[in-house]
Symmetry: C3
Subunit: 284 residues, 3 copies
């Protein structure tokens, strides 16, 4: 029996998550329901897109991902099911999947047509659970919907590259549990545009000229421990999801603060990478 995951903005206090799990287990005793996140900011398509993209890749083939963010069905927010790399995604066509489908083509997309017409403000329970259980039982997507070719794109997940190809203007798409600030600039785009050139990363008044691969690469382990003052140092890093991130070493949002609070970086703020001509580098 495959896994069904849940990614929602329901929070974990209300009865919604429990209700959805109960409904799934009522239909399918043997399925495994796994929470990805229920703490998405209400209606935040971008957060959901980022979290889902980085979680789903670790799941086994056949996994079914229900996304309950901005999921009230309407004329303009149609329920879809999508198959990609042998996994399944059930959500509304509101852009949530565009971060996943940017680099990988879906194998199949359907617009779900089995939603009941009964008036009810909690349709994920009715429609998405039914679709997930149908897929878990081995059912075909064509049975619960009609094939479509395109889904809505989310533009803010794409950084802008200038005509001279020496600048990437990205923006903050996510702030994590440690206050680290994550941009929409991936390592792939960085390498492709940068071609090994020197660079500077600029965000507000802060500048970075080096990108780390591990947080503790900032530590000089040769120095005696008691002399180091690394906690709270800021750094640029390609995080484990391969996005360019502005971080603070060993930060704590609730006490000393993190990159977001201490550097004043918020959702949608700019993070710019400027590549430097080899000549320029030599001169300086």
């Amino acid at each position: 029996m495959p896994i069904i995951t849940l990614t929602t903005d329901f929070g974990t206090k209300d009865h919604f998550v429990g209700a959805v799990k109960g409904a799934i287990y009522k239909e399918l005793k043997e399925v495994k329901v796994v929470d990805i996140s229920h703490q998405i900011s209400p209606f935040s398509i971008t957060e959901a897109a980022y979290i889902l993209k980085n979680a789903y890749q670790n799941f086994p083939e056949g996994s079914i991902h229900i996304v309950g963010v901005d999921s009230e069905i309407s004329l303009e927010n149609k329920p879809i099911a999508l198959q990609l790399e042998g996994q399944y995604f059930i959500c509304c066509d509101n852009g949530i999947l565009s971060m996943i489908t940017k680099d990988i083509n879906p194998e199949k997309i359907v617009e779900i047509t089995i939603q009941n017409s009964s008036e009810n403000s909690f349709q994920i329970l009715d429609t998405f659970v039914k679709v997930a259980c149908h897929i878990a039982r081995g059912g075909m997507l064509e049975v619960i919907g009609k094939k479509i070719n395109n889904i809505k794109k989310l533009f803010e997940i794409q950084p802008q590259i200038n005509a001279d190809k020496n600048q990437i203007v990205g923006s903050v798409i996510y702030i994590d549990n440690f206050g680290n600030v994550i941009s929409n600039i991936t390592q792939n785009v960085f390498i492709q545009i940068g071609k090994g050139r020197d660079f500077e990363i600029i965000s507000r008044n802060y500048k970075f000229t080096k990108i780390y691969n591990k947080y503790n690469d900032i530590v000089d382990f040769k120095e005696p421990k008691e002399k180091r003052q690394d906690d709270g140092k800021r750094l640029a890093i390609f995080n484990s999801a391969n996005f360019l991130e502005i971080a603070m070493y060993r930060s704590n949002l609730k006490t000393v603060g993190g990159a977001s609070s201490l550097l004043g970086l918020k959702y949608r703020d700019n993070i710019t990478v400027r590549f430097i001509k080899r000549d320029e580098t030599r001169k300086t």
Copy 2:
């Protein structure tokens, strides 16, 4: 093997929830433990009652619900187990189940008599886990307790109806993850008393004369999207649990605010429905 659910005010940081799950799995390897909520406000019987009522209905027959809210056993807070619609509830007799038993008669109630006399401040681990595992194995309630006929009632979950039957005075019993404000007035009571008459709903200085069934029923989809200004509009709605709710369209408590913060509605505030004589309606 049946499902055992947990509804508590333990929070998810402390070791309590993990400890309870470990103890259950130690007794019964094959059971499925499902979290309903651990974020109930400390000792809040009303919140627990509302959440449990709306979650349990979705679970399969045979499910066992442990409620760890106000669950320190004392002379005045006796542990009970209750069977209703083929599901089981284990909690203290503090009113938590009175929202569920208001409309449905329990099949059986016992006062639990197997609690160990050892002094310990975390009795849910000792007593409730043992009872849940006993039931999960197919054991009879009579083995772990003695039959009783009544449980404690919680009065604040009942709205007041005036003698003329043209007014329902309800109150706020729950505020959800989106800041939506939920009253104790159910759609059933509303229909029964209202008999199709026009009405006005009053809470603080706000008045509503229409009740929606879906949040986005407030949107006029014929208008071009860029001209609409629906976000933050307030509305009255029968929510998916069939309670009258004051909501804000696409609200976010952490940023712009929700119905609770923007309209200043708190737990226990009044929400009144006044039905209008057909004659009055015609006149106005």
Copy 3:
């Protein structure tokens, strides 16, 4: 198939927890993954130690506990796996296990040697998941690491006892969901040093001369309910984990406050027990 538990400071919003679960289920379909806590304060070894100690004891033999707190591997933070009472712990050697190994000798400790050398900032996914699945399949610790004899000790979990053996100076190591303040003084140490003598517990300006075993032992059930004013009364108690705790009866941190906020007790504040000579007691 054994249980794999997770204790981390990842929070539940980000994709990290979902990613770890997906990776485990990808390797081992039939394992059960149980959350102990993901709300550990970032990098707090002490909190993790306290929560883990109190949770693990309830789990069945063979359970495998992954601890993702301060878990970025470095020269000074080596990954280890430890077997104790037939359960397994996988974490970095940063002191987290010293609360568990204080009273119980580990059966085996290895320094993990299979971490991949690839640069990546989220090593728990790579290394710890691999080790956990290896153990879950029945693999030997020696296969994934080399035997070591000692692990790092955490000193702040030990209270200080004076030379005259009439005083224990402890400190606050944890504040729970209800705002209760937990010291590092265990009931065992208290009994061993106190030898039945009278005592006073002092913290800031507050003094306690009695220790309860249940929160509601503070209530005088003979008095009529409406005359009692027990809510918010402060008390000293040996909590269910057998640590000396300063609590408030039926407190709520978000509304009226709890022991931590109302008595102004913080992490690392002193809690002192002074034992009184039998002669002194008679005199007073």
